[in-house]
Amino acid sequence: MPRILLLNDTEKPLGELRDALQAGGHEVLVATGTRALLKAVEEQQPDVVIVDVDSPSRDTLEQLALIDRHAPRPVVVFSADADEQLIRAALGAGVTAYIVDGLAPARLAPIIQVALARFEQQSHLRRRLDEVQQKLQDRKLIDQAKGLLMDKRGMGEAEAYAALRRQAMQQNLKLADVARRIIAMAELLG
């Protein structure tokens, strides 16, 4: 059963939500401010954080997501009113789920489950995207280095590529790193 951190730092009563989560068998931690939030995240490592849409601590959660990029936590936003557009934007945008006040307690557990699953999927997608972007970046560097070799050494394309590969193998470096060195050297030497 996921461990849930309920951040209670606005005037909206979260008591009902806590009761409903506990009734559903969740372990519920409650933090009442930024200080308690940081302590709870560090020491008790909740699986999900539930936060009011108007909580002043939301920026603290953003920073946690940035510095701890490999272990971010799904954030569920709690709102008193169901502005459909806001919910849709938030869901498209990093917030994993959206709970509206007055939601039947029985429906909470499945939402938490879906939030966790969805978060896993998003993290996976983000990692994939990072990989693809890195590959694209490497590709550009390699092409640039190849172009330099062809230009300055009069090599053919296949020959330039083979030279890069040979350097990479001899120096036990990645192809992109060899390319980066060649580009840097070319800039230095003009």
Binding site: T34, D54, D59, T60
Partner: protein, 360 residues
């Protein structure tokens, strides 16, 4: 602009965070400048920058008072959602500060190097700013790095709502922070910390808060975007016209719906100090020098994001194409001409005097 023709004023919902530099938006409403330009601005106070961003992206808000860095953070999707935003104008320059706990500040003043002071602490130093990609994070990180402190490895950095910072410092949770006024003076008032540097000393004339909207809004409703820019630009000009105007603004900001602190306290933050160079102090207009959405300011933020490893690649052509979309120069120019604010010849200004090692 035809003022005599009766027509319904366009209502715009504008978000702000309760800080001194939301003054241009409040003044625009109080002076009736929104009505003058055919608009009716409804101001909505927000508790976090995350809420400002989400409500802007969702369409619940039409425009917002935002940290300049936040806009570029959303454009590049760092640490949060990606979205297409637009900067209509800069609202203010300078006016932020870095505070250290009293003990550290005292030693620093005696000339001991910051690096040495921080590494002598019994724990990893804890320093706060207001938003991961925000301006305060940038000023803090630049200041630390310039003194040989690596902001990503040598300190524990966190984001926190500024009203909680002085108390967190008093409780011993924070060794320092960077925030806007009135929150650095508050640490001094409580006797728990001391301002060691004003942001205007780090980069005189740095951009701070901007007036931002969705890109789609700026592109599809250019007339409304220009009218909004003109109304707020006029308010900025008014704020820089005389100290009396700033005193008046302090009264408005003191209102419980805006900041809700005593007017005298806010006036102390708003009024230009006599003994400091104006180019390093909080300013809202300076003949439009403050408000022009300089392309070079955007380049600087993107470079910093790369410097801290949040953004891959370095493609100047791509950056400039992006910034040409984000910075709404045409809309700003039209607004400035409408109310007679001088325009610069160039779209960029001379660079910030910060170290800027793009490649290590």
């Amino acid at each position: 602009m035809t003022l005599d023709k009766p027509r319904r004023r366009r209502v715009l919902h504008v978000g702000f965070v309760p800080l001194i530099d939301c003054a241009p938006l409040v003044a625009a409403v109080r002076l009736g400048l929104d009505g003058k330009h055919g608009l009716s601005l409804q101001l909505h106070r927000q508790a976090s920058w995350a809420a400002v961003r989400d409500k802007l992206l969702s369409g619940e808000l039409d425009a917002v008072h935002a940290l300049a860095g936040l806009v570029y953070g959303v454009e590049t999707g760092i640490g949060g959602p990606r979205g297409e935003l637009a900067i209509l104008m800069t609202l203010n320059q300078n006016g932020q500060a870095i505070v250290l706990s009293s003990g550290l500040a005292r030693e620093l003043e005696r000339g001991r190097p910051l690096r040495e002071l921080l590494s002598a602490l019994p724990r990893m130093p804890v320093l706060a700013q207001t938003f991961p990609t925000g301006t305060h994070a940038m000023w803090l990180y630049c200041w630390l790095a310039a003194q040989g402190v690596d902001p990503l490895r040598d300190i524990h950095g966190l984001s926190m709502p500024p009203p909680q910072m002085p108390a967190a410092m008093a409780a011993g949770d924070l060794d320092g922070y960077c925030a806007g006024e009135p929150w650095s003076r508050q640490a001094e008032a409580l006797g728990v910390g001391k301002r060691v540097v004003r942001s205007g000393q780090i980069w005189p004339g740095h951009p701070e808060k901007v007036l931002a909207c969705r890109r789609q809004f700026a592109a599809l409703e250019p007339e409304t975007a220009t009218a909004l820019t003109a109304a707020v630009l006029e308010a900025c000009r008014w704020l820089d016209q005389s100290p009396d105007h700033r005193r008046q603004a302090a009264q408005w900001l003191a209102h419980a719906d805006i900041i809700g602190l005593p007017a005298g306290h806010l006036a102390a933050c708003l009024l230009p100090p006599a003994d400091e160079a104006p180019s390093t102090c909080l300013r809202f207009h300076a003949d439009g020098q403050v408000n022009f959405p300089w392309i070079s300011d955007g380049r600087w933020f993107l470079r910093q994001f790369r410097r801290w490893g949040w953004l891959a690649g370095a493609d100047a052509v791509h950056d400039d194409a992006l910034l040409a979309e984000v910075h709404r120069l045409a809309s700003y120019r039209a607004a400035a001409q409408r109310i007679g604010v001088p325009l610069p010849v160039e779209n960029s200004r001379s660079g910030p005097p910060l170290d800027d090692p793009q490649r290590e």
